[in-house]
Symmetry: D2
Subunit: 267 residues, 4 copies
């Protein structure tokens, strides 16, 4: 990407207004905490959005200028507008926007719609977690040690009912005897998606440098690359007799694009 | 499965009433043609459903007694009820029902919702197709030769904008110079999905014995197997201190299910 | 498969002769312990083989009559004959034999050659493990609860340097703070492979009913199904002008197999 | 990568000395033709190697300074030294070198050993091919149109007996009625592999700008990225009681690497 990656961090932003512990940890919201970290990097441009903002924080002009959408939601999944979910989903499918689902966003409408999953899991009390790096050569694991310690996180446990991920990058060990697939990628049409488990609202995980670094790596990884050919939002009719036309020299050059074929087949 | 596999074949069933060629090929509908073939097999039980039936052919008592849903739709995708699509999607995700999308169902609401895709492709006039068998050892390819000939099919061409399939089983060669990924599987949560390209309403493909055999194979493959443990439709809380309890002998037996843990951990 | 599945259980079978604890747990070898369990099932036929048997336990007439090969090796990986490894690898690739690698077989020559991996991991002292069932609807998880307890197993820990598996079915939690991808499938050409972690020679894991059930399930899953079309051990030349011949009626029927094309194209 | 990507193009380089048509098309070898194109790019450094060079063109000092190895072989696969194949395979698995197999290298020793496949396919006479771009947003498809024309290529046809690729990017349509999965990626341990079908020795495909561009894109994609943590060539023992040590403050910082744990757990 030649320009900055435009990241919008969407936060339900309610716990941080009502829960004392959450408020103390994230006085301006978890999105602001993550945003403050990300905006240090010259290649990244940050915008914050919240459920209670006008248009639920994502009016068309924001969504259409977002390269990567980070999503944190929990108690108000059901309030998110279905039409907005569909817009998000299609922008991701078209390869115009990456999507990062944090923590309880496993159950959010956009994550479930985009990936195609119910996203159910089991959960339990806050406790010690050790995060393991299963795929150390993956770009999302860049700069991350073989394991790191999270002194306090809400337990998310298997079975996590999701489709087989494209790549499983992180796995969590929990004090109470549980494990979880904590960081993983999915690809849907032209869109890249990353799910990452840490980030309960009453835990300081978004102050953890490894957690933040992984989120930044995921921004770089999910951001759309410049495509050779754009995904479409319709099903075009092709040129009849393509092979014959080419052989007969009716297709100039050796590059053919049936969709635009009548205009000329190459450069 | 100890009992018969209960297959419901859902057909939009409109072309066959209005288009002369379709009517001649499939006087009782494409679903009836496929159903007549499938009901020969003692392990399969067939039910037909159509868009214009009450409850769009799929009232709850039908859906809840369907093990495999076969779907053919084209011109009326938009009429299918969203609430019905959600019910279908969740039944598939829970592993209670397999889903087979035929031909233009690549663009149907249930296929797109279940797989997580826009399902866009390019298309063209009816022509000769040779179907190639890329994965001859797959159960869905059982009894299918290395290739077979379809004298007349609507062109479906790449790029087909779908997620990378779980397994690519069939690929189509077309006279005019195009290719297509014609038969492929997807797995979403506990659900198994098969997409298969042949079946334009004015082509006799559902009279082709190889096409029919592939559909039957796909019924057997997508049908739910008896699971060791059911997928859930919620996120339960687990038992605290699981490892400690087991070590202290508070978990009887060596089998533990945290969800039902208080009742006793095994048999 | 119409006949019994012929399982050969190959064991290095040296620890059980020299280590007192191993000898006490498995007086006739680990292979005999697993074999005794498997031979209860009428659909399975068991044969035992060991490194110090003639032809390293796998003369051609044994290998060619084996449908599923189970492999346990550890201290003598280097002694296994390279020519034998190549024979095993090709039989698996051709779809004639499934392969199950147990415990330290992650570093065995056949596992590494078949999967294409170095198979490196980290390891530690024997300790408590809780095995989690990540994919409860998979046939290999049939009859297995959501989790089960292994009171004593050698620690195998991430990172496990393997290719992304086809399906990750089991994951292990360990007392000391580690996790491991414990049960997973790979598919290579027409061959199905299962890796399963439990089974250190001084631990009673092959007396654990869940471990044994998983091995039995894996036998059924890796066993070759009746293929529609056999994988080949060479690269045949095809028929020229196939499409033209078919269109000209020179290919009888609508079934064509270019390899045997001159003999006649179908039924 | 901060420095240039060091590409070694290995060519069997025999057809071009003995076959008149090959000699005319590639007087200095196919490797030289590809190399001339690649060396235009400032980020790439090219070295040529051939089977009949000393040490089969790949002495240790060359191999250890190669970031991406491109391989073209055909009639002399059997002559390639097994020890060299093992060195190549391990360098790829360790994530130190990408591997690109061209055309008949589907049957080469390194491709088969690295991917874990027999690599068998069917083939036929030289003919017209149309190459389709199935995954236009993949970095290897950057700058490539929806399809392009190859006026003359040796037929490679399905079934291609390989494991399911990580991503299928290109597919070929052939005049005679055949199709082929022509461009695809595999990942094995930390190594990235790309197979690409065009390049029969008597066809001008390595003068085709799209073919060349795809090879260049594949160089960038398969080249090792800077890993956060290196793959190892052994299985180290871990630290006992890791979770307890961390909780007791015996692990400084919140970053732990059990392998180097005694030295100190972070920065």
């Amino acid at each position: 990407m030649d320009r900055k990656i435009r990241v919008t961090i969407w936060d339900e932003f309610r716990h941080e207004k009502t829960n004392e512990k959450a408020k103390a940890l994230y006085p301006d919201g978890m999105h602001a905490c993550i945003g403050k970290y990300l905006e240090q990097f010259p290649e990244i441009e940050v915008r914050l959005a919240a459920l209670d903002d006008p248009d639920q924080g994502l009016p068309d002009e924001v969504l259409q200028n977002t390269d990567v959408l980070i999503w944190w939601g929990h108690m108000a999944h059901g309030e998110v507008n279905d039409a907005l979910v569909t817009k998000i989903q299609r922008r991701v499918y078209m390869g115009k926007m990456g999507f990062i689902a944090l923590h309880s966003a496993h159950h959010s409408k956009p994550f479930r719609a985009i990936v195609g999953t119910m996203g159910n899991l089991t959960w339990g009390r806050e406790q010690k977690e050790i995060m393991w790096n299963l795929l150390p050569t993956h770009p999302i694991a860049e700069g991350i040690p073989q394991s790191f310690y999270i002194p306090e996180e809400e337990l998310y446990a298997e079975p996590f009912f999701i489709p087989q991920p494209s790549e499983l990058i992180f796995g969590g060990w929990y004090e109470d005897g549980y494990i979880f697939r904590s960081g993983m990628t999915f690809i849907r049409d032209a869109g890249r998606i990353f799910y990452f488990q840490p980030g309960h609202e009453t835990c300081p995980s978004y102050h953890n440098p490894h957690v933040l670094r992984i989120i930044k790596n995921a921004v770089l990884w999910t951001a759309p690359s410049a495509p050779g050919y754009e995904y479409r939002d319709h099903c075009p009719h092709v040129v009849d007799n393509l092979a014959e036309r080419i052989a007969a020299g009716k297709a100039k050059g050796n590059m053919v694009d049936p969709v635009f074929a009548e205009i000329g087949y190459g450069k």
